[in-house]
Amino acid sequence: MMEAKVNEPDRAAARTQRVATSGGGSAARRVFRKLLLSQYFVLYLSIIYFLVLWPFIPRIASPQNLGNIFSNMWPLLAVAIGQTFVLIIAGIDLSQPAIMALASVIGASIMTTQLDPVLFEKSPLWGVVFTEAGGPLAGNFVAVPVAIFAMLLVGVLIGWFNGTAVARLKMPPFMVTLVGMMFFSALAIYLVKSENIIHLPESYVLLGQGQISFIPYSFFIVGALAIAAQWLLSRTVLGRWFYAVGVNVRTATVSGVPVVRVIVIAYILSGVFATIGSVFYSARLAAGRPTLGATLLLDVVGATVIGGTSLFGGKGKIMWTVFGVLFFVLLDNSLNLLNLSYFWVQIVKGSVILLAAALDVARTRLLAKG
């Protein structure tokens, strides 16, 4: 109040003075502000992070490491795209890692060419689905397409189940998908008694490991899917309905939006995209793994939210998710290069995510002020 009194008589003069003296500094501030408010904010953040670390970890910019970062992005992006859909409709899908694990196990069970009886004799699938000689389609040339189809079916079914429980039974998405996560990941482990299924067909493994020069196959497939997903969200009727349901489900209902259908479709898309991620991850491992994706939940939700998609629904873009995924992959990669223990990696990762979230809050507040 003191200050106000002093300034009162010639506030206008004070203002002109301030503008005059701070000409240089305000230009820098304006650039910073613009950066902060840009929708490419997370991309800039990733670039800055990279540049800051470069002097300390020169290896981060080696061609091999850049290739690693690049190829690590796409499977994670596939899963995060699915999450983006459900976040936009004001839901959340915690069951994605479980979908990935179950799909991975089921796909591998179908196409594996050889199993060790010592490891798998106790599996409930032994003698029913697979034997010593592998899965039902072992060696068959349709094995890979059928296995991938079966994996996608897993995603569709679990997504449909989640969506139906949320939309028709009005159950909270957090509960439904949390229970889904427990149930389906336990099921995946039970089916193969915690063992990885190896001996997968070469053509399948190639999906995850193959490259055209230095560009992995996953880039082409997931990139195309990302473009399709963005087109779906921004250009189609269904996409606009997603946002409408996420912003206000009651208004959407009165306006004739088929709310139940929209919600179910969002969860099915989430399941399908999780499965696509699963295909690439398990192909890269050359194994069906019952714990696939178990550590990915934070990465998926974190990358999507840091990209700018709102946890409260109604706001999100695939491009933002791409940036969020880039940031996460970069973060992971840099921490690995530092050779830190797993716990330190988690601690640092958590801190960086918190920082990014704080920046995002500041940004939102700035945007609201205009």
């Binding site: 109040m1 106000a4 009194k5 009162e8 506030r11 087109w231 779906l232 250009r235 189609t236 009727v237 269904l238 606009r240 309905w241 946002y243 409408a244 912003v247 206000n248 009651r250 208004t251 959407a252 209902t253 009165v254 306006s255 004739g256 939006v257 088929p258 109604g314 706001k315 205009g370």
Partner: protein, 503 residues
Amino acid sequence: MSNSILAFESIEKSFFGVRVLKDITLGVPRGKLLGLVGENGAGKSTLMNLMGGVHAPDRGQMLLDGKPYAPRTPSNANAAGIAFIHQELNLFTNLSIAENIFIDGFPRLRWLPMLNRGHMRARTKQFLDAVELHVSPDTLVEKLSPGERQLAEIAKALSFDARIIIFDEPTTSLTARETERLFRLIERLRGDGASIIYISHILPDVIRLADEIAVLRDGELVAHGRKDEFSIHRMIALMVGRAIEQLYPPRRAAPTATPVLEVRGVAQRGIVEDINFTLYKGEILGVFGLMGSGRSELARILFGLDDHACGELLVDGKPYARPSARRSIDAGMAFVTENRRDEGLLMDISIAENIGLVALPHYAAATVAGVKESRYFDQIAGIAESLAIKSGDIRQQAVKTLSGGNQQKAVIGKWLLDKPAVLIIDEPTRGVDVGAKYEIYSIINDLAAQGTGVLFISSELEELLGVCDRILVMSNGEIQATFARAEFDKERILRAAFRENGS
């Protein structure tokens, strides 16, 4: 202005480069009631937010008891003795009345880190008695009716010895009896020496309560004086900036004899019973009833948002079973609900996308096909223009930035891309200023002239008398009486609504 408790001196305020308050100099009279009126967007709320510490003025100052007053936060304002009874009430519904009253500083036991509940209860009881709200201090706020919540909020104002109490549209969700009780309380508070600012669109109330009246228009103070200098007509003329000859636009066409919506024996236990009526093409059929008469519930049933147990609906002569919102829309029905914030609009989304939402599927070959955007946005722009929605770029601006009247026009606009056969419109002028009310009546008139049958639900009898061809009166979920325009009689209609017609 020497006897002002609070004075605004040359106050200016801009948002996003738009000046919303221009050189306001105004004194709030000590121990009296100042009525503050103006259209939506005239700057009333901004002025009050300056007082309440929500915003700071760009220029000028406020004086409280002659001393400079510059609150930085709402709690500063409370400490200075200024209380704000909001349009949307500011209580925590999950807490008790006592907890709400002491939320800013709970009394503690002297030796233990625990709340002094006995003290809280006793004090709260005193405040509740002062506002004549006879419930336990431990009652959860969610259990109170809107009127009782308002009283609880006033009790909270009393708890910090508020000397200036601001009421912003306090009667919008109150019943007639609750309103009467509130007015008595306001008068008593003034009698006890409180200074009161009363903001409302309901001008007769302002005339009744106020000692002084101030009128804002487009951020400027256009008049301020003693109550007897004002009539309702003069206030309206000042608010709008021109004299309004008529409150209701003249009808341009007569209703036809072709039924467009036939309702036969519709019932749902405990909500509506044995509803029978016919709506004709080009007719404006009013539905009048008090709160809880079943008028809004009937609208929701007709549109298919709620279920009904038995009865038959015919649209354009075709029976129409198992209604749902989408099927109703396909059958040519449109529904402007009474709650535009929660059911009418997507507040964070652009004006254009809001208007386009209902007709959206007609602008693409399939749900997952691209929307034909140029045609889509052209037609939306046409609607926005024909409704005279005052805004910037409708594709960029979020609908929440519009004033109440313009928001309501956007809700109506959603239903006009495909011309509806039946328009059900529930309380379309609630919280809307005089000028925008006239425009909304005109829109309804035009639709009727083009052959739409309009079911106009309202709790304001005046507007139904001014606009409708016939009025149905509902009470206790039943249609009590129907009046044709020739037999409109305010008293008889009210009597039917109160069920004092012998039955």
